[in-house]
Amino acid sequence: MTEIIDILISASFWAAVIRIASPLIFATMGELICERAGVLNLGIEGIMVIGAFAGWMGVYQGLPLWGGVATAMCAGMLFGLLQSILTVPFGLSQHVVGLGVTLLATSSASFTYRLMLPEVTSPPKIEPFQPLDIPVLSDLPWLGEAIFQQTALTWAAFAVAGLTAWVLFRTPLGLAVRAVGENPAAVEAQGLSVTGLRMGAVIVGSGLMAVGGAFLTLSAFSSFFFEMVNGRGWICVALVVFGAWKPGKAVLGALLFAGFDALQIRLQQTPIGTHLPYQLFLAAPYLLSILALILMSRRAEVPAALMTPYNKGER
């Protein structure tokens, strides 16, 4: 028990929680926007991979770091366009399309990688985002290290979450997005375009997912490898449910998951870790997430038209 308390009071643990949560927050906000508009975007896992790859490759080719983020976002939006064309105007199964987009995006990343770096055995490193030095706050004892020594992209993640909440709940655009995920017929009857709103939401959401992927290469690690997304996309789909389709709760969910993850890494290095198989620790965040999901999502209000394609003028 004392090991856990020791970990929880260490500043580096909290810094890690925020760092691990950041890519999840980007991608969860992306998925949340898609689902609020009524489209389940299972392309998320692949879009994160392509985002991680495109951002890293952009910077490796000489773009500034923010140029890499923009590259990742554009790549994600491109796959979002594909996802949205197939699911919105064509009304195809969102599950099948999403899994297809994930496979296509993942393999596009490895194909392009081999095309651009045919002779490289280990992926080259780039110079990643550095922690921002915030006057006064970064130098606070404990608190400074725990919270205020993060990269700009981490701060961007929290800003995006705030922006998403503000747009969804405080602007006419967000109102229309929420309405189109609940009852597209209502949106059409009020003279708005169901297709336009849904496609827009999927494209923007996919862009955010890709930035979440790019966080891994441009901020968390300084290189790209294929397994780096490693199911984070699927976790984000669960986090949206966990957060009951509300940005604030979803951010809390991301922090909670990141907390479990940071905790298990540290626990492996304590005496407890020597007694238990390490696979148990790796599985712990997922098991705890499933538990939390069951407890939290029972009263959730699912967008009523989620996964229901809308066909204008159908009898």
């Binding site: 602007t171 006419p172 609940e182 009852n183 209502a186 949106v187 009020q190 708005l192 967008p303 009523a304």
Partner: protein, 524 residues
């Protein structure tokens, strides 16, 4: 209602609107004018084309031909935004509200630029509050729509239209979901609206409401306007006759002597379901070799009666008997086993499974019989040959038994259902009782004649047929005995040719019924 002055401005003109869905001509050159301050009713049975017409007006559908003019300007087709901007507000039969949003959000949705940075709710709130008072539409602006009652949701729908300064309100069967008290409140709102110079199109198939609220009534039948009448100079009987038609174009049936009683209803009651009345003291005998016609405007208890015959329900009081044996346990499977064949009202949802092929649909009712399965294994060879028998015997036009039934036209789908019902699955003598619920609705003329001739043939074979239809022509042409159902009460049986359409229309309108019939079931 104060009648509008004859010279009142024409606010809306539909000019020869036509719309076809596949083989069905839903609207056939429909024209109408609406004047300022006027309420017109669009009356017609289900499938007459009322809702299609209004959806074209509002831009949900694009007409194949014809033009919509609002205040003299023609509307671009298929554009709800243009219809809204021109002052047309529609209250849909199935509300178009987002349940996760508040009343205010639902009303304001789409009225402000998507790219404005905030929600300007103060002005919206004030306007909604004023409209609520002016039109008597009390509803809390911050309540989530998902938590509201049906009546409250309808008020939100009307507020939505008024908020956009609609000058023309279209209400699609607005009272179908309301209690009588809510309906009265709605009528009061509509009177306030017309007093303020709005015009209203009121879609309904309830005659008394039309008489109560409308100035003029336009009757649609099979997609065509069959009459325009002033409600001040007409009565319910005349409207009913117009609605269900006066022309005769049916196979002639020779009278036959009735056989034994197959099924008997004795003082049967069923519970009311929302606004739809249950059966009230219904006594009815279905004789072998006879078609018993059940006439009436839909929603008057036909569904409850059909469920009893089909085995889907038991009466809450009263007795049901089959070949003079009282029925105590009753289920669809039992009904099938006892020789009840069913042609359900909704062939798409109750009669067939759209993505199953013809073979699978053909054996849906009989797959457990020894002919089609042994020890839990399907005999698909027998099933397929059965489907082929139906296809050949009942003239089902299709590429083959392996095609999904959703690809068939309504008429061919109905022929398969008919063949399935008449074959009785396993027994060779055919069914003893046939429940034919709206058997020809939405079919083309050829298919109608075929289905009706098959029903007559089944009668001649000795089956007891219960024919439920809203089409008086069909009822009068086929039935040996006609009962009229109204508000769950059943009229006495009238023999073939003893009643005119107008006389039946009066019964359908609920007149002639003795009031004591509808009282409590204790007497039985």
């Amino acid at each position: 209602m104060t009648a509008p002055k004859p010279e009142a401005e024409i606010v809306l003109r539909l000019d020869r609107i036509s719309k076809r869905f596949g083989a069905l001509l839903a609207n056939d050159a429909v024209s109408l004018d609406l004047k300022k301050g006027e309420v017109i009713a669009l009356l017609g049975e289900n499938g007459a084309g009322k809702t299609t017409l209004m959806n074209i007006l509002f831009g949900h559908y694009v007409a194949d031909a014809g033009e919509v003019q609002v205040f003299g300007q023609s509307l671009p087709p298929g554009n709800p935004r243009a219809a809204l901007a021109a002052g047309v507000g529609m209250v849909h039969q199935h509300f178009t509200l987002a349940g996760n949003l508040t009343v205010l959000d639902n009303i304001a949705l789409g009225t402000e630029s998507l790219w404005s940075r905030g929600l300007g709710r103060a002005a919206a709130r004030a306007k909604v509050a004023k409209l609520s008072v002016d039109f008597g539409l009390a509803v809390h602006p911050d309540a989530k729509v998902g938590k509201l009652s049906v009546g409250e949701r309808q008020r939100v729908e009307i507020l939505k239209a008024l908020y956009r300064d609609a000058r023309i309100l279209i209400l699609d069967e607005p009272t179908a979901v309301l209690t009588p008290q809510e309906a009265d409140a709605l009528f009061a709102t509509l009177r306030k609206a017309t007093a303020l110079g709005l015009s209203v199109i009121f879609i309904s198939h309830k005659l008394h409401e039309v008489m109560a609220i409308a100035d003029r009534c336009i009757v649609l039948r099979h997609g065509r306007v069959v009459g325009t009448v002033d409600t001040h100079t007409t009565d319910k009987g005349q409207l009913a006759t117009l609605m269900v038609g006066g022309e005769l174009s049916l196979p002639r049936a020779e009278p036959r002597a009735p056989g034994a009683v197959r099924m008997r209803f004795d003082q049967v009651f069923t519970p009311d379901r929302g606004a739809t009345p249950g059966l009230k003291a219904v006594t009815l005998a279905l004789h072998a070799g006879q078609i018993t016609g059940l006439a009436g405007v839909s929603g008057n208890g036909q569904a409850a009666l059909a469920e009893l015959v089909a085995g889907l329900a038991l009466p809450s009081s009263g007795r049901l008997s089959l070949n003079d044996v009282p029925i105590d346990t009753w289920s669809p499977r039992l009904a099938l086993a006892k020789g009840v064949a069913r042609i359900p009202e909704d062939r798409h949802h109750q009669g067939t499974i759209a993505d199953f092929d013809l073979t699978e649909n053909a054996v849906l009712e009989a797959y457990r019989s020894r002919r089609f399965s042994r020890r839990g294994w399907m005999n698909w060879r027998a099933a397929k040959s059965f489907a082929e028998e139906i296809i050949a015997g009942y003239d089902v036009r299709c590429p083959g038994p392996g095609v999904r039934i959703r690809l068939l036209s309504g008429g061919n789908m109905q022929k398969l259902i008919l063949g399935r019902a008449m074959s009785g699955g396993s027994s060779s003598d055919g069914p003893e009782i046939i429940l034919a619920n709206q058997p020809v609705r939405g079919l083309d003329v050829g298919a109608i004649a075929y289905v009706q001739s098959q029903l007559l043939a089944a009668r001649d074979r000795g089956a007891a047929v219960l024919l439920i239809s809203e089409d008086l022509d069909e009822i009068m042409g086929l039935s040996d005995v006609i009962h009229v159902i109204s508000q769950g009460r059943l009229s006495p049986g009238f023999g073939r040719g003893t009643m005119t359409a107008a006389e039946l229309g009066l019964w359908m309108a609920g007149q002639n019924f003795a009031h004591d019939q509808s009282e409590a079931p204790n007497a039985a």
